[in-house]
């Protein structure tokens, strides 16, 4: 079989072998005849007579060598190559159109595959789950808590390990320059659960993770390379993290990525079980299911353990066990991949759908080109059919051409996709998860191949259906003089153009809707002004260096006054976390309001807490609606004060003014704090979401959350200056900070505008891609209309000539063809409007401030489409009206 397969391609060699063999045979015969006494000439003739027809032998021999079907395919392919090479213009146009269509689809499939389909890069990643919790009455999801973790670890029957983790900033000192890094804190189970071993050294043992054990740390590959140049001798050395020397016990492997988080060092939590109380839902948790266990079984198992956990640990000071028992948590397990991928699925599928539609338009265009091309060859095909070529053979050749075109398109398309993916990696939204895992892998190649074959068959089918069985008489006759286009031939192309217009309208409407969304988002008042002038930077005062909260706050104030002295700085302040920082989400908590009671089991709304310095609102440009800002004395004198956002004030006390003088606290163990100010709402979760209800507290307080003194030594500094974002300004900032303490690194420098744009990145990414698809769809549709009208005009040149000669006005002729173009467009628009109304419903989750049936979008895009169609039809129509009658009649 293999030999026969090879035979298809080795035809020449095998023919040569046979020829040699036959020649030998001939010579032998000749020699025999000579030996019998014939003259050389007579001997040769006799030998030739003996051997018979060489051609037949060769043909029969060939038939045995090869597989007829494959042979046909090979012949069709070579025929197709020759045929396509004869019309390089059409071939190039088709190949480029297809390359764009297929390339766009290959690229977006690579993204969908890398982000949504591929498992996470851990062994047997499908068994990994995130263990979150819901609480009666709140829609928000809570992470796990130490008391739950210890109970699950000890009592579960369905898990192959469960662990807690948390990422926060840490300071590395004791080296040439101080530096802030991202530290991943884990319990000892996390790395085994993920199934990851260090490249060098070892994982954390349970001993490393127990309280008071010698501190240890693992480095990620990237940090090891960046900071230590990949020097393996660092393993066994020490690293000073947050003022504490920790033993470096290993290096993580190169490809390790922790759920898409940028991590530099990994350290054990060292939780003390004997100190654990109920509550503290701040630790994300992940687990590995035992083999054969389903998500539902694990959920049931965890539901069973929640009451055990409530009974096993004491409530924190100031709380009663009943308070926790009244609102027990319910487990919400989900595949770990879903938590990493988050909500981008909808966006990617919408973009993929749009690009699939674009490919359909491209196919329609190509089908149209091929129709025209095949029509030009109609005589050739008819003659071949008359000479005996079977219908199947002609169809096979036409199909081979289409498939070959599709494959050329796919090859070019893959190259385009490769370029596009590099662009996505460079400019894609930063909140697109798993961006590093997007590659053109075998699955993407397979997808591209199948897609191109399908499109090849799709656009190849139409010419075949129409021309593979040529009606000889008609074909041969119409090859001669005709005056007018036959309506029959025209219909297929008109239908294709109608489809193109309809799909183009769907694409235009969907990109229009995204544009409206983007507009609406841009008009949301974010709660701050001129974000491009606001510089953000994170500065952490290591607890190891400055253990006293008051001293740390004084140091922060010193830094502020130095920063305020930098040229160009208008105002400066700090907060535990900056507006629009993604780390804000998920940490909302309960605010106790004086005089408000809740029935047992009734949900208390979750509020966001922020811890701030004076002048923060002035720096951001957030208005103070009522009352006053914080003063430094509020911090140092530990005054019992708080501020609230306007929406929180309205929720609790109906108006901003009424909030002043009311009392709130963070836990029943704390003293009441008086609301002294109400400030404007800030869209902290992104412009597309409601502004969260925020309570603002001084960044230095006594007796908060049951802690004697609370301060925030890691804070984001907020600096307003027209120089924000420039190298020089950052340099000045670093100098100002160094003047206070040379050990403090400045990290995460960015402007508020960066954060603002990032919060809209998903929308703008979708907008750009849909707009590109819409623009290309419009262009292809216009080309389609132009092509059809131009063709009709050229076919009817004779008729036009006669009419002009008989006195028709050029305007009349022009109007006739423009009307024809508009008829096509109108049919397409009608179909497109209906299709858009149905299809855009799937993108409603991506829209903001506009409905998927927005009348303005529909009417404007329709108008644009009709104008473009008018132009596309007008050009050939004008040419028609300028026909010289004499010329036309002669040529016709």
């Amino acid at each position: 079989m293999v030999r026969r397969l090879l035979g298809v391609f080795r035809r020449r060699r095998l023919d040569r072998e046979l020829a040699g063999e036959l020649e030998f045979h001939l010579e032998q015969l000749e020699a025999e005849h000579r030996a019998r006494g014939l003259s050389p000439d007579a001997a040769r003739r006799a030998a030739r007579l003996d051997i018979g027809g060489v051609a037949q032998v060769t043909e029969e021999y060939r038939d045995r060598q090869r597989i007829p079907l494959l042979d046909t395919a090979w012949r069709n392919l070579r025929f197709a190559i020759r045929s396509l090479a004869r019309t390089p213009g059409v071939t190039a146009a088709v190949a480029i159109t297809l390359a764009l269509g297929i390339g766009a689809n290959a690229a977006i499939f690579a993204v969908v595959n890398g982000v949504l389909l591929k498992p996470l890069p851990f062994p047997d990643a499908d068994a990994l789950v995130a263990v979150n919790h819901g609480m009666t009455g709140t829609a928000d999801e809570l992470p796990s808590a130490p008391y739950l973790y210890f109970t699950y670890r000890e009592e579960n029957r369905t898990l192959d390990g469960i662990g807690l983790w948390r990422i926060r900033a840490a300071n590395i000192t004791g080296r040439d320059r101080p530096e802030q890094v991202r530290a991943l804190y884990v319990t000892s189970e996390i790395l085994p659960v993920l199934g990851i071993n260090p490249l060098l050294g070892r994982r954390f043992s349970q001993q490393d993770d127990s309280p008071n054990a010698p501190p240890t740390v693992l480095l990620t590959y990237g940090y090891w390379q960046r900071r230590f140049g990949g020097d393996p001798s660092i393993v066994g050395g020490t690293l000073v993290v947050d003022g504490r020397a920790q033993d470096v016990i290993g290096i993580m492997p190169r490809g390790f990525s922790f759920l898409d988080n940028q991590v530099d060092v990994i350290a054990p939590f060292q939780l003390d079980r004997s100190q654990v109380t109920l509550g503290r839902y701040v630790f994300p948790s992940l687990a590995r299911l035992r083999a054969g266990v389903t998500l539902a079984e694990a959920s049931a198992d965890i539901t069973r353990m929640v009451p055990l956990a409530l009974a096993r640990f004491p409530p924190p000071p100031g709380y009663t066990r009943d308070r926790f028992a009244a609102r027990p948590v319910t487990p919400r397990l989900m595949p770990l991949k879903d938590t990493v991928v988050g909500g981008v699925g909808g966006m990617l599928w919408v973009v993929m759908g749009a690009l699939a539609l674009l490919l359909l338009i491209a196919c329609a265009n190509v089908a149209n080109l091929l129709l025209v091309r095949t029509e030009a060859r109609q005589r050739e095909l008819a003659i071949r059919a008359a000479l005996g070529a079977s219908r199947a053979r002609i169809a096979g050749e036409l199909l081979a051409e289409s498939v070959l075109l599709a494959l050329i398109g796919a090859a070019l398309g893959l190259w385009l996709a490769h370029q596009a993916l590099q662009a996505v990696r460079a400019f894609g939204p930063e909140n697109l998860p798993r961006i590093g895992e997007i590659t053109i892998d075998p699955l993407v190649l397979l997808f591209t191949l199948v897609l191109s074959l399908l499109s090849g068959i799709l656009f190849g089918l139409l010419p075949i259906l129409r021309y593979a069985n040529p009606k000889l008489a008609i074909a041969l006759r119409t090859g001669g003089r005709t005056m007018s286009d036959s309506p029959d031939r025209h219909r297929a192309r008109a239908l294709l153009v109608t489809i193109q217009v309809a799909i183009a309208l769907v694409l235009l409407v969907s990109s229009g809707l995204m544009l409206r969304t983007f507009q609406a988002l841009s008009h949301v008042d974010p709660g701050f002004v001129r974000p491009e002038e606001v510089q953000l930077a994170r500065i952490t005062i290591p607890f190891g260096d400055v253990p006293e909260p008051e001293r740390a706050t004084r140091m922060q104030q010193d830094i502020l006054s130095r920063l305020s002295a930098v040229p160009g700085v208008v105002s400066a302040a700090f907060a535990d976390i900056a507006p629009l920082d993604p780390a804000n989400g998920g940490s909302d908590t309960v605010l106790f309001v004086d005089g408000r009671t809740y029935a047992p089991g009734q949900a208390r709304p979750l509020r966001r807490f922020e811890f701030i310095s004076p002048r923060l609102f002035q720096t951001l440009g957030t208005p103070i609606v009522a009352g006053r800002d914080l003063a430094w004395a509020d911090l140092y004198d530990k005054r019992l004060v708080a501020l609230v956002s306007e929406n929180l004030a309205r929720d609790e006390w109906q108006s901003a003014a009424a909030a002043l003088g009311k009392r709130v606290r963070a836990s029943p163990a704390d003293p009441w704090r008086e609301v002294v100010g109400v400030v404007g709402n800030v869209h902290d979760n992104g412009m597309h979401l409601d502004a969260p209800r925020i309570a603002y507290f001084p960044s230095l307080m006594d007796r908060f959350w049951g802690t004697p003194t609370l301060s925030f030594q890691s804070a984001t500094f907020v600096i307003r200056s027209s120089r924000a974002g420039t190298e020089g300004f950052l340099h000045d900032l670093q100098a100002a900070v160094r003047a206070v303490n040379s050990n403090l690194p400045v990290a995460e420098a960015r402007t508020l505008h960066d954060a603002y744009e990032k919060s809209m990145a998903g929308t703008s990414f979708t907008l750009v891609l849909l707009a590109m698809a819409g623009g290309m769809g419009l262009l292809l549709g216009a080309i389609g209309i132009y092509g059809v009208i131009a063709y009709v005009v050229s076919q009817r040149a004779g008729e036009i000539g006669v009419r002009l000669a008989l006195g028709a006005q050029p305007g009349q002729v022009r109007r006739q063809f423009v009307r024809e173009g508009l008829m096509l467009t109108a049919a397409g628009v009608a179909a497109g409007l209906v299709a858009a109304a149905v299809l855009t419903r799937v993108m409603s989750s991506l829209l903001f401030g506009t409905s998927s049936l927005d009348p303005l979008t529909y009417s404007l895009t329709t108008l644009v489409l009709i104008l473009v169609a008018l132009a596309a039809a007008y050009l050939p129509a004008r040419r028609a009206s300028r026909n010289d009658p004499v010329e036309a009649l002669r040529a016709g």
Binding site: R4, F24, V57
Partner: protein, 113 residues
């Protein structure tokens, strides 16, 4: 005898000739078969060479380039181990066929009354 030969019989003839004569080129095979059949079977080259290709594709014979007696390059065919087994199989089946045919020809079946 007719110039048309049954495919199975030609295969067996070629294999058997190769078995008795050892490696042989196409011309030699044709000549030998003509001799053995006492001039009755003059193989058309259009029959012989496709047959050789078929036998090769089935793995019963193989060939290599070699130099003939008169110093010409020629394809020398020889049996493979599978080819030898095939001879044994085919010969047995052929003998069965012959004996069955023999019985029919000598003792034609009579209708029973």
């Amino acid at each position: 005898m007719a110039k048309q030969v049954l495919q199975g019989t030609l295969d067996l003839m070629v294999l058997r000739t190769l078995e008795t004569m050892g490696p042989q080129h196409g011309f030699g095979l044709a000549k030998r078969i003509l001799q053995v059949s006492q001039g009755l079977l003059d193989l058309n080259q259009g029959t012989l060479y496709p047959a050789l290709l078929r036998l090769e594709q089935r793995g019963w014979i193989k060939w290599r380039w070699a130099t003939s007696d008169n110093n010409r390059r020629a394809k020398m065919y020889e049996l493979t181990a599978r080819g030898r087994k095939q001879i044994a199989r085919e010969a047995a089946s052929w003998e069965r066929t012959v004996s069955v045919m023999d019985r029919f020809l000598r003792h034609p079946a009579r209708s029973e009354k």
